[in-house]
Amino acid sequence: MAKNQNPVELGDLSLPEKHRGPIGLTGFSKAKAVDWLKSLVLIRAAEEKIGEEFGKAVIKCPCHLVIGQEAPAVGLADHICKGDRVFGAHRSHGHYLALGGNLHQLMAEVLGKETGCSKGMGGSMHLYQPQVGFHGSVPIVGSTIPIAVGAALSIQMDRTKNVAVSFLGDGATEEGVFHESLNFAANFRLPVIFIVENNLFSSHLHIDLRQPSNSTCRFAEANGIPWQRVDGNDVAAASKACLIATRQARLAKGPQFIEMVTYRWRGHVGHREDVDVGVKRKDDLNLWKKRDPIARLAKGMEKKKWLKTEELQKWKTEAEAAVHKAWDQATLDPYPKPEALLDRVYFKGAQG
């Protein structure tokens, strides 16, 4: 899997002037490519709307937008089955939507409405939609990693073919709990897949200023966990890697690790491109925009004569319409009742 790859350095995947062309679609159907494109376009439209409303301060809760790095979640979603358990972190709108999370409930959640996916109690950073396999996201960096490992332990005890998935960023690989969790998962051979969305930045700080080398695969290597590294802006490559990883995990081959190299277009938090840009970022952003996962999939489809120019525009328009409808509905929805504050502290609603 990791043949001829170096677990320590990203190589040209970290260079924005590389990997800009149409993605390869060999082995995939037109229908699959259309699904991906629609999903990527929907996530971007939703994020652009959330960014716009955040900019107007209609949304107040911190929103970490996924624009530019939508592909890893869409690649995983192909391989998620009933009973699988996926966990996210602070930047998880894309994970939620890719898995089929309800769009209106996402909009309602970022507005703090009772109709939100977390009943308006969580906001952007605490999403929950178990019916599509999304079992929670939190902004404390690294905290869902051992939780996903625990879900995998539960799956192993139940002897099902399910898997758990932990989405994390490159910053989370600097947390101690990441290393504890990899060791634990490898020791007990648990069916968990760690997907590092390495977007080269943790908040404002470039990975070169935080780690002695820029690939997180070296941590998988150190724990004896099979790893793959792919271009995270290539949805087909992401999907292929997730197919291999989920298949191995379902066959009780133990934990799997995928590093997906990508880049976010907005600041760490909020809607702006020019806030907390950090060292190097400002110059690199325009270059990275040319590695757009949507444009590259569209180009790949055009090459196969699977896409007419007007179709992409049509799907974008449809996605925007769906987003606006969901948003408008959410703005009219009620806020949680005052009793929700105390009633939800304990599961059965009782304070004492």
Binding site: K119, G136, V138, F347
Partner: protein
């Protein structure tokens, strides 16, 4: 458990685990040293041999990940007990206890239960010093969403353990090794709902209220016995569940006696004794008080190792009697 035979506190804990393992396939225990004969005293002896190493999991040295694993299993249909053989080491896992286990139900809109029990053991004394002796129950009791349970009696050790594990909320279950030799003749195990549990009167009296929990509660009972020999009727209340705290039994008792000594094996500042006194002050009318309420706690210092300092650090039964007598003195303070 053999009818008519005394059971020790440590054995009662083991009986609780055995009961849970037999009745509930979703229960498992995980923690460092669970296959060792000494990490957790006699409270889990040979459970791994009886119920299998798949349900009594000894772990890598990773308190934070192991606690997170327990939280993850808890939201995936299991009822795990993560065991920290010393409270001090549970501090490495505080993110999972405080930020995760205690918050998920509320922040996800009441849609997810986190039925994890975090069992932490107090190992005070024995010249073990600052990082092997802490209790910290007041600290954990500060957290909304985290139930905090401290059994002081043999029966509670078993039955509150069962109740904690069967509770749908995260529970911090703290037991003290100094209690392990306590003995009682126990009735068969019973399932009680933790939500319904709260402070209990362990000894009724009318002259002064002593409120405590865990090991110091046993000291209070012995102090009350000595006071009784002097004709003073002390009422002793065992808090049992520190969070969420049911305040009515505290208020009711002080309304009856007009005097309160809060006795706690944790530090004073922002501690459980302060919470008990505040609860009483808020609930008991000013005219009823015969004397200002008082507290006995550990000094606000880390536990020392040197035996001379250590012998002054932990309060004695005699000291409880002396403080009770001060609170009982006629002069209004």
């Amino acid at each position: 458990m053999i009818p008519g035979k005394k059971t020790s506190y440590g054995q009662a804990l083991r009986d609780g685990f055995a009961y849970l393992f037999k009745a509930y396939p979703e229960v498992f225990t995980i923690g460092q040293g669970l296959w060792s004969p000494w990490y957790v005293g006699n409270s889990m002896t040979d459970l791994d041999k009886e119920f299998g190493k798949g349900r009594v999991i000894d772990t890598p040295v990773a308190e934070l990940a192991c606690t997170g694993v327990a939280v993850g299993a808890a939201i995936s249909g299991k009822r795990p007990v993560i065991i920290h053989p010393r409270v001090d080491f549970a501090l490495l896992a505080v993110d999972q206890i405080v930020n995760q286990a205690a918050k998920w139900c509320h922040m996800l809109g009441g849609q997810v239960a986190v039925p994890v029990t975090i069992r932490a053991i107090i190992n005070r004394g024995g010249e073990q010093g600052a990082q092997h002796s802490q209790s910290l129950h007041s600290w954990f009791a500060h957290i909304p969403g985290l139930r905090v349970v401290m059994p002081a009696t043999v029966q509670d050790a078993r039955d509150l353990l069962i109740a904690s594990v069967l509770c749908d909320d995260p529970v911090m279950f703290i037991d003290d090794r100094w209690l392990y030799e306590q003995e009682e003749i126990l009735p068969p195990p019973r399932e009680i709902s933790l939500e319904s549990q709260g402070p209990e009167i362990r000894r009724a009296g009318k002259d002064i209220t002593l409120i405590s929990c865990s090991y110091p509660l046993q000291q209070c009972l012995e102090a009350a016995q000595l006071l009784g020999e002097c004709g003073i009727e002390a009422e002793v209340i065992d808090l049992r569940v520190l969070n969420p705290l049911k305040r009515k039994p505290i208020v009711d008792s002080v309304r009856k006696t007009g005097r309160l000594l809060a006795v706690d094996g944790d530090w004073a500042t922002c501690g459980m004794a302060a919470e008990v006194i505040t609860s009483a002050v808020e609930g008991v009318e000013p005219g009823i008080w015969k004397k200002a309420p008082a507290r006995m706690t550990l000094p606000d210092a880390p536990a020392p190792t040197s035996r001379v300092l250590e012998s002054n650090y932990y309060f004695t039964i005699k000291k409880i009697v002396e403080n009770a007598l001060i609170t009982l003195s006629e002069k209004k303070s």
